[in-house]
Amino acid sequence: MTTNRRDFLSGVLPAAVTVAGVKASHADDHRHQHEHDHQDAPSDVALRVKSLESLLIEKGLVDRASLDALVDKYEHKVGPRNGARVIARAWVDPAYKQRLLADGTAAFAELGYPLERAAHIRALESTSAVHNVVVCTLCSCYPWDVIGLPPTWYKSAAYRSRVVIDPRSVLREFGTELADSVEVRVWDSTADERYVVLPERPAGSENLSESGLAELVTRDAMIGVTKVAPPAQGGG
């Protein structure tokens, strides 16, 4: 349906595009972008952070044991598996699903995931007719407590700029093809609500146990850029 500016230019003005170097530089852009999304830490940054850490400890603003514990929490304790368990429960327990949709924060707490921050968790139900996808165009808001820290692409200029204006092309880039009739809802997290998509339960998952279902649920499906894929043949 929509084309991007570069494709348009190369279609109507191939010579001009070549002259302008747009075509030739496209691959370079890609590589550049990748480097900028997460550069290897120059040792300079690592040293500055180390020095800042000593200062804050000396000032009593931070203590090392709590700092170590917090890093460990981000690296090992929070993550998409927690959210996946909640999604699987909602698939097998209609009453729980209703509670999840009515009050996400309480429903996550019910399964042992209390929230530390002031944010409220809101679950968005995707169906065959409605597809939800989450973004934070201004920054990087994301339901840390329940699915972990956001991936780099979620915080990238490419995703944040485009998913609100052209969600279908973004979804296609993630391999998600939607029928034209599907209603796409983009949720721009501008305040304290933290959105988690409750994806559609895939076909062929009828015989799976709750933990088997949780295995199917991915981080990307809970952001809404993909659907949950049916279980592999013979799996379960």
């Binding site: 940054v45 180390k50 800042l52 990238s156 501008t190």
Partner: protein, 212 residues
């Protein structure tokens, strides 16, 4: 402010780079910076929000910074702005004297009795996002300004970041989930049934008929 961070709807930012099996942190310092910022935040001693320092960066620097470089920049600027450390101390990594006994401003502000905010709008009501262009932090993205939408939900009361992030008052008010049709925002290129939902503070909205 109308900065580069407010990028919803911009074109030509390139393909989305997907890293398979991405680690939580790409280098140990990233986790240290994030955790230090969270810990100092918890003391309630910051007088400046997380995002204003990011948004004040020159556009090119913003785009070229990695996510955790932004956190580092913000942490340093907030420490300085909150009188918790000087630039000289940050450069040397050593405290110059005893820590200044600072009043935890944001915590103190929270103790002030608050007038319960009354919601101005109800679910189902038509509203328009105001055409406002503050030169400081706001959570009303440019792409929604001046556009009409429908209140779908009242999310409750929250401090207004436009003032609270600068310790200029909590200004607690209702925040609403507002649905904008994709066509209202982007014209004919959008599918008729698609929509974008934003969470908007009461201050950002006016009744739909006020403008036209």
């Amino acid at each position: 402010m109308n900065g580069i961070h407010d990028m919803g709807g911009m074109e030509d930012m390139g393909p989305i780079n997907y890293e398979k099996n991405e680690p939580v942190f790409h280098a140990p310092w990233e986790g240290r910076v994030l955790s230090m910022a969270k810990m100092v935040e918890k003391t309630g001693k910051f007088r400046l929000g997380l995002r204003p320092p990011w948004e004040d960066l020159p556009a090119l620097q913003y785009l070229q910074s990695s996510y955790y470089e932004l956190w580092l920049t913000s942490l340093i600027e907030r420490l300085v702005a909150s009188d918790l450390a000087t630039r000289a101390e940050i450069a040397s990594g050593r405290a110059a004297g005893k820590p200044v006994a600072t009043e935890p401003v944001s915590a103190a502000a929270q103790l002030k009795p608050e007038v319960p905010a009354e919601p101005r709008f109800r679910p189902g009501e038509q509203v328009r996002a105001r055409n406002m262009h503050p030169v400081t932090h706001t959570r009303l993205p440019r792409y929604a300004r001046g556009k009409s939408g429908t209140i779908v939900r009242d999310n409750g009361v929250s401090a207004l970041p436009d003032t609270h992030d600068y310790s200029l008052g909590r200004n607690p008010q209702h925040v609403y989930s507002v649905r904008f049709s994709a066509r209202e925002l982007w014209g004919d290129r959008a599918a008729a049934q698609d929509s974008v939902y934003l969470d908007l503070w009461d201050n950002y909205l006016e009744p739909a008929q006020a403008c036209r």
